[in-house]
């Protein structure tokens, strides 16, 4: 049965509309001063109000204040904020990010901008922020790249998943002394004479005492936990293949290199190598780690 509804269909269209906005004298002066990393405002002496971004006309008394420029600090305070979590093509940065109203120190009107440098969960009004200027000028408000928390966080967390890139590496180096081996024997309970008894060790294929394999292996822990990804990292799996012994007095460098980013889990696989002072590979392996959770500062 044919109904009128069958005749309806949808036509896709697209509308592209170019525009240019003339910033005008006042707006241009503001944008130009941003290039010099200066934030300028216009002050109404009558109402004792400072407007940033500058307004040619005072909103309150409707008088022209376009000549009364004041230079302000590049700091401010957050008066309101929201966290953007959905994604749209026009957004300036990838969500999640913080869009905040910031009152520049000395001004009376807040401006909207992006805030970074604070975990999303810690974002609050009243946060002190500092303008971070863009390296390259575009003659727009984006000459201020973003505002960054001006309050020192207690700990600097390590690299987040998004910050990590394949090929990034970090290492930790330590000389393994006799004392280290003895202490490690005590900690692990592994008093195997090949580590502790030189005479016994002479009879082994190595001809002398060697360190416990797990001792150099453990040197990867400061790399993963404190350097790459760094604080906040959770190690999920570490594998290790021993290639050469570690003798007393050897200087071992444990290196971790990001080899794969596992998007689905947001985990990172790292290739591990342990080398001695001669450049010989002592051990090789890999690790699977969960980098620190995203903070606003890490976007």
């Amino acid at each position: 049965m044919h109904s009128a509804k069958d005749d309806c269909f949808i036509v896709e269209g697209k509308l592209a509309l170019p525009y240019q906005y003339f910033a005008g004298r006042t707006g241009s002066r503001f944008l130009i001063s941003l290039r010099d990393k200066k934030i300028m405002g216009l002050k109404c002496d009558k109402c004792n109000k400072v407007f940033v971004p500058p307004r040619t006309i005072c909103e309150h008394c409707f008088s022209n204040i376009s000549e009364n420029w004041v230079e302000l600090k590049n700091t401010g305070i957050v008066t309101g904020f929201t966290i953007i979590r959905y994604e749209e093509p026009h957004q300036p940065v990838k969500p999640p990010y913080i869009l905040a109203l910031i009152k520049i120190t000395g001004s009376d009107t807040p401006i909207a901008h992006i805030v970074k440098g604070i975990p999303l969960s810690k974002m609050r009004t009243g946060l002190k922020v500092k303008a971070i200027f863009a390296k390259k000028s575009t003659s727009t408000i984006m000459d201020i790249d973003h505002f960054r928390s001006d309050e020192k966080p207690k700990f600097e967390l390590g690299f987040t998943y998004d910050e990590l890139e394949v090929g990034m590496s970090a290492s930790f180096t330590k000389t393994i002394s006799e004392t280290d081996v003895y202490l490690f024997a005590g900690i692990s309970g592994d008093f195997n004479p090949m580590h502790l008894n030189e005479e016994f060790a002479k009879a082994t294929p190595f001809g002398t005492r060697i360190a416990h394999g797990a001792l150099p292996q453990s040197l990867i822990a400061p790399v993963l936990g404190m350097k790459l990804p760094g604080l906040g990292t959770v190690a999920l799996e570490i594998t290790c293949r021993f290639k050469a012994p570690t003798y007393f007095g050897d200087t071992i460098t444990a290196t971790g290199e990001v080899s794969e980013k596992i998007e689905k889990k947001r985990w990172v696989r790292m290739e591990l190598t342990w080398t001695n002072q001669k450049g010989e590979i002592v051990a090789e392996g890999s690790a699977l780690v969960m980098p620190p959770a995203p903070m606003a500062q890490e976007m």
Binding site: D7, L17, Y21, A23, I32
Partner: protein, 895 residues
Amino acid sequence: MNLGIFLDNAADKYKDSTYLNFYDRVITYDEFRKRVFILANALKKLGFRKGDFIHVLVQNSPETLISYFAIQRIGAIAGPVNGWWKAPEVEYLLNDSKGRGLIIEDQYLPILKEIRDKCPSLEVVIEVGKSPQPGHISFDALMNEMNSTPVESDAEIDDIAYIFYTSGTTGNPKGVLLSHRNVLADVDGITKALKLDEKMVLLCFLPLFHVNAMLTCTFSMGMGHQIVLRKGFSASEFWEVVDKYRVNFWSAVPAVYQILLTDPTRQKFDLSSLKFGVCGAAPLTPETFTKFQEIFNIPIVEGYGLTEATCVSTINPRDGVRKIGSIGLPLPGQTIKIVSEQGNELPSGAAGEIIIGGDAVMKGYYNRPEETAKTIINGFLHTGDVGYKDDDGYIFIVDRIKDMIIRGGENIYPKEIDNLLATHPKIQEAATVGVPDKTMGEEVKVFIVPLDDSLTEEEVVDFCRKNLANFKVPKYVEIIDEDFPRSPIGKVLKKDLRIWGLTPRPKKSEAPEATVEDIFGTMESRVNTDGVKGITANYGYVITGTGGGEWTVSVKDGIVKVVKGLHTPNVTTTISAKDWVAITLGTLDGMSAFSSGRLKVEGDMGLLMKATQFFKKYTPPKAAPVVTVEDIFGTMESRVNPDGVKGITANYGYVITGTGGGEWTVSLKDGVVKVLADLHTPNVTTTISAKDWIAITLGTLDGMSAFSSGRLKVEGDMGLLMKATQFFRKYTPPGPAGAEEEKQEELIRIKQVLSIPQRFATGPVMGKFLKAFSEKKIMANKCPECGRLQLPPREICAECRVRATDWVEVGPEGVITICDIAYYASPDPLTGESRETPYCSAHFLLEGCKGHETLWHELKPSDIERARKGARVRPVWNEERIGAITDIKYFEIID
């Protein structure tokens, strides 16, 4: 076996794989062969026969390669012509080979025009281009014949496939004859040496008129590679291209590596696809070599070869030991020996002439049996290069044999002295030659281009004495104030220096017209607004020598300030005053100055490249400040805005009336602008008084007002005219009169394009109407009260305001009731393109309709001239109909 069969094998094997990707124009292997067949058939039809020389003067494009292979397919010989050659050189070539045919791209026509009458053997000219000259055969037309009948490739393996002319450093260019065997042997050798995988992606930007690019495109064919073919090297697009096409490797010359190394834009791109780079033509400095490998983590494979041995003869292994400074190991299938003057093979470590044996060695020079005999002795090609082998068999080049100086029986290699002197802080470049001497046979003379004008001859000799064996210390030193004579690729022509000999070079009598001060002083007034857009940086200039000083050019998004002294520059350029003036006045090429080290740059190379676009050329000031119409037209060619003229071909006529007037034609051919006296078949003619023309040019009269008030009259295509206004930068009268321009406050515009996706529901009425188009039916709905038909239909009768639910089919034929011819179309906001004008929209009264029940649509463009009220029309339907207005293409008039 021959190159034709080689292509067939590749085409059969890789069929639908991409062979060429030329700016996203993709040609598969099969298609490539098909085109080769089409052209080969066409060439046959034109009467070309086996053994004919057919030359090809076409910039890198698929057509270049199609030409080579099609020519060989019919047993003829492809003769690539160097695109950088000037008319006399091309004339020489055509008369030397007596080639009957020439495939030429339109951009080279000026050369042909100059020499055509002097090349009697040239019978057929095939032109690659949009509108071929009369008398020329259109390449496109040949391709459109579409006769793709397979052409058997019956060439013998020892038949000649190519003739490449080498300029050499002595004498006239010689035609190197390369047989199918030669090319296939070198292809085989390089494929093995590079351990190529199948279906790699390579980037080819070297010119196809050189053996390097020709061979690259051939060996790649054998491996099913995809060639990303570019017209030439461009640093600005390089990394983007690598990223976009996932390029695996390329072949380049040292200068390219040098530029790439200093270009920071690479950081934006993903270069993980790269596997290696090939370098040839000249030695790479160890510094560049190591730095490049370090940064990109891919090997550079240096090779060596001559046109006379097809292309490559030695190469460093891709994954084995690569020795810096060495040209590597011989290619499989080639034998390389180092021989003494007597022809005895020398032990490793001893320097002697490099000779090459194997299937890649050319058949000989065309028509030059004597020279051939001198070059190929006992099957070995004598290269004229001096080199030695190390214990591992790696070959190192020392110098050219011809440049060797024999002083009192001792061999002196000039390169050693050149290289030493180049390290002297006051020396830009040195060139050592032998000059005749009665006692010693030859003596050492050094020509020096100084970096610092205070350099003395004594300093040079002292420096050599400290660092060289006594017999090598030059007897004569001459510090010159010009550049060395150089070949087109920048090599110092030592033969010319030998001719200069002992006679001192004349000192330049004239003081340069411009001073460094002048140049910087006028910079602010010469800003090219397009060039500085969006750039913020400080450029420091340290100009040494007499008249020098330090300047900073500070750019802040469009505003340029020139201040004395160095102020935190992002890029610093150091250069002598003399060279700076020379570069500015265009007598010294900036690129040569840069690659020769006379101009030193520290900082961001990307910025520097932009900096060169900041300014219009400096013209030394002239006296007369009064502007004449003559001035304006006279300087037009120098004021071309390359963006404005892109892709435009037209003649603009200017009739300037009144005192000082005259007629001019500004002729544009795709980027090239010529200003001619008189009117030459213009597409647009502008008529205006001299006074108004000057006023408009100087900006005191608004062009639009002059236009709409009729003071400026235009006949012809309005769209063209609008483009014409973008051709030129503003004319500024020379001298003080024009310099004093009022400083304007900077006002910012923020530009953006909003793109909004939309969806429209047709609703049942419009939907029914549009759907009927698929059956070529035009439906109207009918008001049940007044009986009026509506086209396009509406839910409600516009008059009676009742639902119009009845439907009738109307037309499809009808008559025009009123038509509107649009001569002007506003540019599409999306593309910036305007639709072609004129076009005609019209109301059609279709059969079954009456009065004002008309349908609004478009008339066929070619019917516009005949458009009149009452003309009978019918719709022209599109083959594919989707239920849209465009299902009817237009209405056409029925005769």
